[in-house]
């Protein structure tokens, strides 16, 4: 089966987002900003003004911090770009999407279909996953320029808000759609029939840790 490739603007139309299907390969054109704990806490909990005109400049929120350095003259040297795991930011996302109009949430691992249905779909947003999580050099090639870095003095280089201009940046994989379906849950369901056979004959540990689950169909994110 061949995969469908899509080039998408980071200020996409509602139709373009609705057209995305689970497993599509996406390349992005336009402005992207990064956000992780530091940015969410500063913008939402400390109520700092977000230094961008959102969503007209960018509706693409990347859970990422690049391998980069700010030179003494204030210019940037940006090498590889890789996502960080998104599930830990889920608690901030409803407020963030409402405030910023973010429609493309990009990162690693994604969230549960429950999250997608409850606050991605009503906001017209989907989740894009980076590929293999280590394709940092390919994604780095998609960075045309670094437009700005905000809050790096307060948060450090790895937590700052980087604003980058992307040109055919990718590949990304569509991991949620406008039905709120989740690519990882779909794939996990396909391998579920194997699990019993694989575990056959193995022994549960004598000492089980508090809070551990025996339900192998359980989602690890949720």
């Amino acid at each position: 089966m061949s995969l469908r490739e899509v080039v998408l603007s980071t200020t996409p139309t509602a139709e373009a987002v609705a057209d995305l299907r689970l497993g599509d390969i996406v390349y992005l054109d336009g402005l992207i900003y990064t956000a992780r704990e530091g940015v969410y806490m500063r913008a939402l909990e400390e109520k700092a003004n977000i230094p961008l005109e959102l969503p007209s400049q960018s509706a693409a929120n990347f859970h990422c911090s690049p391998a980069a350095v700010i030179r003494e003259d204030g210019s940037f040297d940006l090498g590889a770009v890789t996502a960080t795991a998104s599930f830990r930011f889920a608690k901030w996302l409803p407020e963030w999407m409402e405030k910023t109009g973010a429609r493309l949430i990009i990162g690693k691992g994604g969230m549960s279909s429950k999250d997608y249905r409850e606050y991605f779909v009503p906001n017209g947003a989907v989740y894009l996953s980076t590929v293999g999580y280590g394709t940092g050099a390919l994604l780095g090639r998609g960075v045309e320029t670094v437009e700005a870095v905000h809050w790096h003095e307060e948060l450090g280089i790895a937590q700052a808000m980087w604003v980058i201009r992307a040109r055919r940046m990718g590949p990304f994989i569509v991991a949620s759609d406008m039905n709120g379906d989740c690519l990882f849950e779909r794939e996990n369901a396909k391998i579920q029939h194997n699990i019993e056979r694989i575990y056959e004959g193995t022994k549960p540990a004598v000492m089980r840790r508090y809070g551990e689950t025996d339900d192998k169909s359980d989602e690890i994110i949720g």
């Binding site: 391998a67 590889a80 999580y133 394709t135 390919l138 699990i195 022994k203 004598v206």
Partner: protein, 318 residues
């Protein structure tokens, strides 16, 4: 005497190599996986990974934006001497880590756990870790840097003797499944298993098994070597491939290292190395020669010694 400048310069070069170039043995393992993979999404991921390594080498940029938490392993021949002594050696490795962080660039990942203090150079309290090993003969020192991630893909469980191999299998599968389902540990990867030791050394054994052994190498104990083969196959029969998508390549190789433990327990750790298997190795000689190597060759007979006496050392003493 090994010159301190040689150590610093080589260390900087190793940091760059580890971040940008994939070790040959792992690249071969990944290519073999790409050949046999038939899942559509997991095949796409493997192809993207191989393209990514080409891009990294061509552009001389890091393979991954998360350049991990760099650490050092130093192995010294018994006759090796370092200019300025061990403190100078540690200072050189810390300096090289900071310099390479801005020169490559690497991502400055290291912060204080509570205050989140960030010096933007990957150096801080206890960072980078520097671990040591020794060999009975030789005037050389080996510098090995490993850039492994710092969040997912590593776990520990206290098992007991009666849990046996079936208990070990269970925890191995639990660990692969837990993060494989969401690809949070980057797979396919080299999986290291530590068995025994005490809790802290068990974690160290597993980390060394995943980062300091090459793909295709086998433990010198034939029964452990057979377990390594079996576990590699077991991991690849889950039906999960790259990123947890449907596929048949979850484990590039499985390495097991053991250490003697408390008679009542059977400690176990599992470590997934990252998808770029970032390690780089050089042997430095007193005459200024530097030999870049693929194999850290950490687990020599001396490292796995089991008895009280070590004959060559006794001979030297006599």
């Amino acid at each position: 005497m090994i010159a301190i400048d040689l150590i610093r310069n080589t260390a900087e070069r190793l940091m760059e190599k580890a971040a940008i170039e994939i070790p040959e043995d792992y690249l071969d393992g990944l290519k073999a996986a790409a050949k046999t993979e038939d899942g559509d999404l997991s095949s796409f991921v493997l192809k993207a990974m191989l393209d990514n390594y080409e891009a990294a080498k061509e552009d001389r940029r890091a393979m991954c934006g998360d350049t991990g938490v760099p650490r050092w392993f130093v192995k010294m021949g018994n006759e090796a001497r370092v200019e300025g002594g061990p403190v100078a050696l540690e200072a050189a490795l810390r300096r090289a880590t900071a310099t390479a962080t801005s020169a490559v660039p690497l991502r400055p990942n290291r912060v204080h756990p509570l205050w989140r203090t960030d010096h933007n150079n990957n150096v801080g309290i206890g960072a980078p870790e520097i671990e040591y090993g020794f060999e009975p003969e030789g005037e050389w020192i080996d510098l090995i840097t490993v850039h492994k991630g710092g969040l997912f893909g590593t776990d520990y469980r206290m098992l007991f003797p009666s849990d046996g191999v079936q208990g070990i299998k269970r925890f191995y599968l639990d660990s692969l499944m837990a993060f494989g389902k969401r690809g949070l540990a980057c797979q396919p990867a080299i999986i290291g298993i530590g068995l025994g030791g005490s809790k802290d050394t068990c974690m160290v054994l597993g980390k060394r098994a995943s980062t300091l052994r090459t793909v295709g190498s086998r433990n010198s104990d034939p029964k452990i070597a057979a377990m390594e083969d079996e576990f590699r196959e077991l991991g690849n029969s889950i039906g999960m491939g790259a990123m947890g998508f449907v596929g048949k390549n979850m484990v590039i190789d499985c390495n097991i290292e053991v250490g003697y433990c408390h008679t009542g327990g059977m400690q176990m750790s599992v470590h997934a190395f990252c998808l770029s298997s970032r390690r780089a190795v050089a042997r430095l000689f007193p005459d200024g020669r530097v030999e870049y190597r693929t194999d850290p060759d950490w687990f020599t007979p001396y490292q796995r010694r089991e008895g009280v006496d070590w004959e060559p050392a006794l001979e030297a003493a006599e």
